[in-house]
């Protein structure tokens, strides 16, 4: 797995998980629903970790997503048969849950999570330590985790329709989250999402098997440059020459630390800035 330099921090949670998985394997102390919950948590943790990678492994992600779906299905069947079970938080969430394809799911997330967190707080104080360390997760979280990881894996191709970035309320408004499960209407987040899907747009307009037109390549790169927020800012407003020289120079270190294509874009900017400097200085 190629990470973007992100280190996995060794946390208490990970140590707990190792202990829990041995407990699972010895199969003495954990009941079936607890085991299922443990597996579910491990799956979601892995999916979350994969989301942070630049290029998650498609095979593994699909296998884990299938496992989550399987558990989801089982839990759904159980909850439809028995309204009362160990984790009422989940039951409450699943009553409001209308179906995996329902467009309302993603939008209900914040309230859904808050609702069953409240339930589970009551629960945790009563149950034994193993349950306390398990994170109770709702169906909504699971569906959106699967949705978002698989959407992110949709690298390319002109075959699939372009993903829609804003929930429109019609049949498939799956909002692709790239920062946690919160749904925010901020410009900032939208821009961040566009940044991730900027590459989708680039790829959607080309086919790997056809020759790329040079114009198309540069056209797409230009678009992503203006949309992302870590690249060189566009032309500076005219100021006194000394200030104007210093400010662009300050932005260059941030350019140098980002990826290679940004460096290419920065170079074209450099020549533009030179040109502006000439005009300003009048040389």
């Amino acid at each position: 797995m190629l990470g973007r330099g992100l280190k996995r921090k060794l946390s208490d949670y990970e140590e707990n998980m190792a202990g829990l998985s041995s407990a699972f394997d010895s199969s003495r102390s954990l009941s079936y629903p607890l085991k299922r919950q443990l597996v579910l948590n491990m799956c979601l943790t892995k999916l979350q970790t994969y989301k942070m990678l630049v290029e998650p492994n498609l095979h593994r992600s699909v296998l884990i997503a299938n496992t989550v779906r399987q558990i989801q299905e089982e839990m759904r069947q159980e909850s439809s048969q028995q309204p009362v079970n160990i984790c009422p938080g989940i039951a409450a969430a699943s009553h409001t849950y209308t179906g995996m394809e329902s467009p309302g799911i993603s939008l209900q997330l914040p309230s859904g999570v808050g609702q069953q967190e409240a339930h589970c707080c009551d629960l945790r104080s009563v149950e034994d330590p193993i349950e306390n360390s398990l994170l109770i997760v709702s169906d909504d979280d699971m569906s959106s985790a699967i949705s978002s990881i698989l959407k992110d894996l949709d690298f390319v191709e002109d075959i699939s329709p372009p993903t829609c970035l804003v929930p429109t309320g019609d049949d498939q408004p799956k909002f692709p989250e790239n920062a946690g499960l919160k749904l925010e209407d901020d410009r900032q987040d939208l821009k961040g999402a566009e940044c991730v899907f900027g590459s989708f747009e680039i790829s959607n307009s080309t086919s790997y098997l056809k020759d790329l037109a040079i114009d198309d390549i540069f056209e797409d790169i230009d678009t992503s440059m203006y949309d992302s927020d870590f690249c060189c800012p566009p032309l500076m407003p005219p100021r006194s020459p000394s200030l104007a020289t210093e400010e662009p120079l300050k932005t260059f270190p941030s350019c140098n630390s980002s990826s290679a294509n940004n460096i290419q874009i920065c170079r074209t900017d450099l020549s533009e800035l030179d040109h502006i400097m000439e005009i300003l200085v009048g040389s």
Binding site: A18, S21, N57, L58, L150, S199, L209, A260
Partner: protein
Amino acid sequence: ADIISTVEFNYTGDLLATGDKGGRVVIFQREQETKSRPLSRGEYNVYSTFQSHEPEFDYLKSLEIEEKINKIRWLPQQNAAHFLLSTNDKTIKLWKISERDKRAEGYNLKDEDGRLREPFRVTELRVPTLKPMDLMVEASPRRTFANAHTYHINSISVNSDYATYLSADDLRINLWHLEVTNRSFNIVDIKPANMEELTEVITAAEFHPHHCNVFFSNAENVGGRKSWHWFHVELCVLSAVFEEPEDPSSRSFFSEIISSISDVKFSHSGRYMMTRDYLSVKVWDLNMENRPVETYQVHEYLRSKLCSLYENDCIFDKFECCWNGSDSTIMTGSYNNFFRTFEREAQRDVTLEASRESSKPRAVLKPRKVCTSGKRKKDEITVDSLDFNKKILHTAWHPMENIIAVAATNNLYLFQEKVN
């Protein structure tokens, strides 16, 4: 030395190619038996080493493309040179390996050093002669088949017509002609219109050894059962689906993951097919689609450790498997540098270890045993003391003789049947 990522004998078994994580290919050649060194028959020595793939950077997606060689497949030899296909995640290359043992001497226009001679010094015309020189093995890239795979290539397979080959990534299979690099035909595409509906990926694809219009691949997770599809290439028609009904008693949370196929190999006869999943190897008769004819448990003792193996990602390890030349025995790898062979007729199996300590030259390998019950006998190893970092994923069997190549991380072991 880098981690070995693929091992493959050529059609005669005289050459053994290995690919590693650093993009290098190392080819070993079997020593010929000579009177002066009678014991050297069967030894493999380095024949050629070359850098097949370099790391690349995909600027559009800001991704690094690994140079690790995923698969090597030899082409049958048609002239003095040898050809092989090697692939990384995105690009397949055709390499030509040729020998040079003669050098031309006595050029008219240049010196022995290669410098051009002064024209006035050329007083007579001579015919260059060929003189023997030290053997030099050259590897040169002849074709590069690129830009046809969006996802990671996991398999390549040469057709029995020796003119075409297929390459498979997670979601698509392409068919190539060896002479044509700017075009490939997409013959299988399992990518759904909506990626969220994706439930299955392609993990292996192989042409039938004799029927040039038939190949196998796994695709289509049908109702939770693993299926294998038999395609006819001309029309790309699904001809047969091989699936085994799930055993409800052995169902667990990890059933989905452990039933994922990591390798498929046709028998040399073309009559059987072998699939490897996490815990077992299954042999299928191509005439019988509803269940495998034989199932061999490779390391059943791991079934009770699945959660831990899932937690440390070992459950995703992709083990390969192989047939011997006569299809009577199959071999596959396990953990702790163990590998297992199963004799089909005799119903015998053995566990062996590939490690420096247990492999003295010419010594017979001692069978190993993993202790599954509580009481550990002498020389047995408990499941908990197995080293899961020492995994044997790649093995190969000589096409005709009982010589096996076993890759243990960054070491290659060659074992031979002891002839008394």
